[in-house]
């Protein structure tokens, strides 16, 4: 585990760069953290991130399929928002742990 300063706050990260404490997350931190990875978060990104945070907080398994059914974005749109590995990227910026899901 390592600490890293993001947007002026000390954040605990695991070895893969995921937050270990979701409560350390804020919108400002997310924007700065994404920028570090070369991504600019729009309101749509943040809407998806909020959805992910809610879902994880309530203890539900996060899947690409559930995001596609969230009404915020369809699966194609989700891949467009977070190109490459969308679920990994989005959870990283959402300040939650790495998704443990195969779908």
């Amino acid at each position: 585990m390592a600490q890293k300063e993001i947007a002026g706050k000390m954040i605990d990260l695991d070895e893969n760069g995921y937050f270990t404490d979701p409560d350390q997350w804020s919108k400002e931190v997310a924007l700065a953290y994404a920028a570090e990875h070369g991504d600019t978060l729009t309101d749509k990104h943040l809407e998806v991130i909020e959805y992910i945070r809610e879902k994880v907080k309530s203890g539900q398994t996060l899947t690409i399929r559930s995001i596609g059914k969230s009404g915020i974005v369809d699966i194609k749109g989700f891949y467009k928002l977070f190109p490459g590995a969308p679920l990994k990227k989005a959870t990283k910026y959402a300040g939650v742990s790495k998704p443990a899901s195969c779908v």
């Binding site: 398994t61 899947t63 690409i64 399929r65 699966i75 891949y79 679920l87 990994k88 779908v103």
Partner: protein
Amino acid sequence: MSEKKYPLKKVLLICAKGTLEDVLATLVMANGAVMEGIETKVFFTFFGLDAITKKRMNKLHTETVGNPAMRMPGGLPFPTILGMLPGVEAGVSAMMKKQIEALDIPGVEEFLMMIDAGGGEIYACKLAMDMFKLTKDDLVDEVKGVLTVGEFYEMADGLQTQIIFT
């Protein structure tokens, strides 16, 4: 000194069987690769073509005959002779589909849409299509093309590429 790693960049999957579990295994692997940002191509051949044939894709069944891993609910062995009775295969398959849905695993049609939406590519085998007298129109829209074996191998160019036969 840490060892240099070469993460997977491209996978090509082959699905040659048409039972529900064989098809789902391929689709889970393919979708999983797409989710990881790995370039993914799925090739359906022989009975695997059922998974991308419009008329048949939503009617795939679980193998109840000659499947020694089959169990009754509760864990007792499932006698092969039971699997031969009319309706048993359909019943078992319906049960399997229910369990799969409960885990938020999509059905075949939706899975193909998800793979396509994520940029994965789906192909059909030319030889098997000729054999089963299928045309491109019989297949779902997500199918990007009908390939010969040679064309399929040509796609496996580049480093860090794997071909997986499920």
